[in-house]
Amino acid sequence: MRWAAAMRGRSSAARRKVKAARLYSYPHIANLKAIKRVRKCTVLARSGHRGVSGGLGSVIRIVLQRLGFGLLTLLIVSMVIFGAVNLLPGDFAQAVLGQSATPEAVAAIRTQLGLDQPLPIRYVAWLRDAARGDLGVSFAQANFASFTGRVDPSATVLAQIAPRFANTMFLAGVTAVIAVPLAVGLGILAALWRDTAFDKGANIATLSSISSPEFFLAYILILLLAVVNPVLPSLSNIFPGMSFGERLERTLLPALTLTLVVTAHMMRMTRAAILNLMAQPYIEMARLKGMRPFRVIWRHALPNALAPIVNVVALNLAYLVTGVVVVEVVFVYPGIGQLFVDSVKLRDIPVVQACCLIFAAAYILLNLTADILSIVSNPRLRHPK
């Protein structure tokens, strides 16, 4: 109420400035106000009122806008992927069959794969099929089929990718389950004990872990946990029909490698997010009134840090998408990353395209999630001026 009294005598510009300063320094209060404003807004909306800026409607509008942008990005990315592959000199059919192929065989493959159509038509057809889940026929398999005379139903890209996609999701899931609590916990500790030996040690350790290539960490783990002390298997050969425990055991070493990389990133970002908050006046206030450090973090810092932390987690899961490729190759893990690298070496264009599209879609989706979460949780972004 004292605020209102102070505000009464000021010009509208000064009032706005005070309000902005308040929003900036007291996000948790601003949060309350925002919730109240949202309630008021919905009430007004129900009674037919319009013209109140901000509120729930604007959040939904911004989120929808971001979703639209995400879809548009994905569409353009699919164009880039398709266009890049199709601007090749020469011909796929030739590239697939090699130099010694007869012209008839090349022509047959061309019609079979629809390579004689103009580019835009091929793109639309490819996109339509991809949306339906039909990602085409793998070149390596098509080549094989042209010798045997029949197309195997398992030759489609989808049939190749689907089980591997599940495996990769399993690996990413195990990694996330280990890494997220570990990273957030350690990040909070590093922020709490900043400038102590623990913080400095954690800084050096995380920086080294980020700087090392994934395969270095992977081989060190293999050396220590599989060769010198044979605790875990060094090769993750996973096949359908395995029990969950066995599957988990064989996934653990690649998951641990990814955990090392991702945890370092996540921990640094969590620490930075919390330190950012700890500089806020309301935290200082809580401390000055004699609150215990743990309670300051639990009651005041963490609720406000949750948004940046969730953002950090989503961003790092997006980073996981790239990291998975190298790790899968090291451990011969039958995931989508290994298929991707193998197809790159075989120049199997349909598979490369499909994998690329899946990776890009996952990456865009996770980045979009981070974006939307940060909007939904931030009153300043929720009410753009």
């Binding site: 992927i81 030996a197 081989y219 490729v325 890009a360």
Partner: protein, 388 residues
């Protein structure tokens, strides 16, 4: 299940140890112990347990790698300390001043960069053999001990077709680091110029470039690089030199998008300055504006970005080479070496030295990126004037 019970029991014991230690400390009446929270006491107990565990591990005969890692850590710390000491007392005054406030990590980073640069430049003189020379014996064990299957002539052994690993490691500095450096320079030339241009010109050019960069950045860089390399490999048609060249161009283009973002945002902050306005009113051309007015003032953040970008490019090239689509075989390169020598690691249980063959090139990659990161960290910290 007993494993979990053990873990819980150990944690509880540590908590008890922390509590007891704090209670003991309080008997002395020191303020430090009076104000200590139980969590901090537990942390100290944990640190003590870790220290004791490390000491116990040191005495075990099996923990060779642990001892090596600790010795290596100690050696690098001492080397960094001596280097910083030398820097504080030798050379011109300006340089000495820089060294005075330098943290040990930054000194270590600078030392590593200098050593790598020297090795890369003089690789031809330092290396005992050529990088492609196939010498007599294949699969010679590292260590140079004839009893274990080594050979004093090849201190780090030879690979599967009999090339000297030490020489290839030294030439790898030239090839891997040199190519990464060239790629980063190219990325900076592309991204920096376009970014500053977008900041100066603005309008539709800015929109066009920025949206294009947005699209390229929406694809994860390693994935995009792999896609483009597939195409390049069809293009190069087996000419391996060309494939390496395409790889440099592809990674430079992909990474220039990140440079573009930074250069543009830094440039936009500078374009509104009065001296740029004055230069525009003087009638200076675009080249003068970009390279004489804006670039010198954008140098500090761009330099820090150069270090970070170099790390990313270096790691990407190493990863691609490790996957077999990066730097191509006749050239010695660390990523390829790790992949080729990876099989050796399975024999580490019999002769610990053998594991060094694949781990040393990987360590060489990690050491350089760690060093550059330390230096960049220090530069950023100094530039931002943070005291925290």
């Amino acid at each position: 299940m007993s494993v979990w019970l053990w873990i819980v029991a150990v944690l509880a014991a540590l908590l008890g140890l922390g509590w007891a230690g704090r209670a003991l400390g309080r008997l002395s009446g020191r303020r430090r112990f009076r104000d200590m929270s139980l969590a901090e006491a537990f942390g100290w107990a944990l640190a003590l347990a870790a220290l004791l565990g490390a000491a116990w591990l040191w005495t075990r005969p099996g923990a060779v790698y642990f001892r090596w890692a600790l010795i290596g850590f100690a050696i690098s710390a001492v080397a960094a300390f001596v280097f910083r000491l030398l820097g504080r007392h030798l050379g011109p005054e300006r340089l000495r001043k820089q060294f005075r406030k330098m943290p040990l990590t930054a000194a270590f980073g600078i030392l590593v960069i200098i050593i790598y640069a020297v090795v890369a430049i003089f690789a031809g003189w330092i290396a005992p053999h050529g990088q492609e020379a196939v010498l007599g014996a294949a699969n010679v064990v590292p260590g140079g001990d004839p009893a274990m299957g080594g050979d004093p002539a090849f201190p780090l052994g030879t690979d599967r077709i009999g090339r000297d690993i030490l020489s290839r490691l030294i030439y790898g500095a030239q090839n891997t680091v040199g190519l990464a450096f060239a790629t980063t320079l190219l990325a900076f030339f592309l991204g920096g110029t376009l970014g500053l241009l977008a900041a100066v010109v603005g309008g539709w050019l800015d929109q066009l470039l920025s949206r294009g960069v947005d699209v390229l950045m929406a694809i994860p860089s390693l994935i995009f690089a792999l896609l483009l390399l597939t195409i390049a490999s069809v293009w190069a048609e087996g000419a391996r030199g060309w494939l390496t060249f395409y790889m440099v161009v592809i990674i430079a283009v992909i990474d220039s998008t990140r440079v573009f973002r930074l250069a543009r945002s830094v440039g936009i902050g500078i374009v509104v300055m009065d001296y740029v306005e004055a230069a525009k009113l003087r009638g200076e051309g675009m080249g003068h504006l970009v390279f004489r007015e804006i670039l010198p003032n954008a140098m500090a953040p761009l330099l820090a970005e150069f270090g970070l970008r170099f790390c990313f490019v270096f790691l990407t090239i190493a990863s691609l080479s490790f996957l077999g689509v990066g730097i191509q075989p006749p050239l010695a390169d660390w990523g390829t070496m790790v992949r080729d020598l990876a099989q050796f690691i399975n024999f580490a249980a019999f002769a610990p030295m053998v594991a060094l063959a694949p781990l040393l090139p990987a360590l060489a990659i990690a050491l350089l990126t760690v060093g550059v990161n330390f230096v960049v960290d220090w530069m950023l910290h100094r530039a931002s004037g943070l005291k925290s």
